[in-house]
Amino acid sequence: MKVDTTNYLSLPFILSNKEPRLIVITGKGGVGKTTLAMAITKALESQGKKVLYNCFDQPLNTNLSKNLELPHFLLNMEDSAKEYIAKKLGSETIAGWILKTPFFSSLFNMLPGLGHMILLGHIINKVEEDPELTIILDSPSSGHALTMFESPQNFKEMFRSGLIVEDIKRMEDFIFNNEHMKVIIAALPTEMALQEAEDLELALRERKVKDIIHIVNDLLKICPSLENATDEELPEFLKKKIAMEETLLKELDSSWRLIPHYTHNNPASTVKECALLLAKDMHDSQ
């Protein structure tokens, strides 16, 4: 089986043109966002970059993170909100008190978009404060990623003026000026996942997110274990699966980057192998 490696996802491709400072990984649920985000983090780290992984509002896979010695940071919505309010009002005591009122805490619960915006604002602040740092954001899946990206606009419209709006404008400058943020949309070789990736990309472009790349993950067609296998050796269901992948890949243009299926049951090994593949061309070009 001939393997075409020219379209593999690679670090040089992710970092091409301007080096993004915030790399957001999103896509349909279950497409391998976390594995990919961790692999990009490890690959960048192996190149001597200062990089941190963040899993936004989802819980961290602590075992995996420990296994990989993953450089990361965690955010907590309430702490982020408190820190922000304290900065704005010049008092931690007042900020703490505001967050403790039942009104405010239940408002937070009713409006998850507000929490999304505060977390995203915190992440952007972190990147802006440290010019050496790159953050890899393992983002929520499609619909909730749109809520996240839309939250600054929505709350800007709501608040209209005042200190928060100034900060939201700074956030939007960062997100939409095409200099610092890259979005990677991941899909699997299935009709549903690819359709969702295309819908998501369209929706993001409508919201003026410009620097977007898309990838197909978990491809058997380029699986290292199948590299030397002949067609006759493969069982019927694998041939069928590969044929399905080929049908779907034919519909895609060459801008799609590919990631193979890895034959590991240990998630840490999958992340490591994926990180090696991503960084491979870095060594080649050095």
């Binding site: 349909k28 649920g29 279950g30 497409v31 509002d57 989802q58 819980p59 009002l89 007042i94 505001i98 009122t101 039942p102 009104f103 239940s106 408002l107 619960n109 009713m110 409006l111 998850p112 978009g113 999304h116 899946s141 499609s142 619909g143 909730h144 749109l146 809520t147 839309e150 939250s151 929505n154 419209e157 709501m158 608040f159 209209r160 003026s161 005042g162 200190l163 928060i164 709006v165 299935t190 009709e191 549903m192 996942a193 359709q195 969702e196 274990s225 199948l226 590299e227 030397n228 296998a229 050796e233 069982p235 019927e236 269901f237 069928k240 399905m244 779907l248 034959t263 049951n265 998630p267």
Partner: protein, 347 residues
Amino acid sequence: MIPSKRIEIFCGTGGVGKTTLATSRALKLAQSGKKVLLITIDPAKRLKQILGLEKAEEGQVIQLSNEVFGPNSDNISALLMSPKATLQRMANLSGAGEGLDNPIINILTRPYGGMNEIMAIIEVQYQLSTNSFDSIVLDTPPGKHFIDFLESTQKIYQFFDKSFVDIFKYLGKKFTNENEKVKTGLLSLLVQTGVKKLLKYLGKVTGEDFVDEFIDAISGLYRNRMAFTDALAFQEHLKKPEESNWFLVTSVDQQKVSEASGLRSGAQKFMHKDSYLVVNKSLTPYLNAWQPDGSNPSLVKLRDSMKERENAIKGMATEGYKEVLFFPEVLGTEPKSHVNELAQSWS
């Protein structure tokens, strides 16, 4: 076949095939003559794609034609959640709808405004109360957002209970009929000044206009609070085995065993004895038939790794489930044929 209930709830982590499986369950029930309403809460709305309803209006109950899945598919109606449509219906029912026509509420009920989970609870409870269907099959949002959905009723309760007491103590003059709960005394006085202060600070960091609109939004919600508090009844249906079936979906093409367990413990206080673990995309029948001759070690490795994945799912704590259901991976790309094949696997 597993006896159907008024609510059939499908939950699971992302990408395990919840929407497709929920649709196949709806089809199976429809084929046995039941009237079914299929609701998706996932804002990604893949249900549209499966049912070929790309142009259909969100927020409307749409009866399928028999062309979609063959005979009896017209027993299925589908509802693609739209927070805006739910809000509109709430306004029509309450007679206090003008209070909901507020810039803040309008922004928050946009498709990606973030209110989906809470509005979904209200919509589902409303659909239940109409008694127009034998079963409502519910496709829930992935992972943590499913727990958000479940806990929405609690959040609604807290919001209308705790925060409204605060707010109306402060806004007492404006809402003379609503502040029966106001108690005098030092404590409530402290809270009273608290909210006043809170709004003053709010005005500092946001525009002043916002504070006014915000107060209007709050009062609009309060006047429509019945719609929210009615939704609390939904939680009770979910807890009763005679009212609901639970399907926790997981799939073998992912290493999501621990996440599925996490989800289950999050939903533990709602789940009851009629809970099923659904293992989707099982390759076991194919893998058992595959015997590589050993001349190519990497093929043996691939087969073994695939088998190991399946076994990891099977080794998952299955006690506490009434039954573990296996659904084979469907080898085909067309979503409708997936649903048809999966419907046949429901026993």
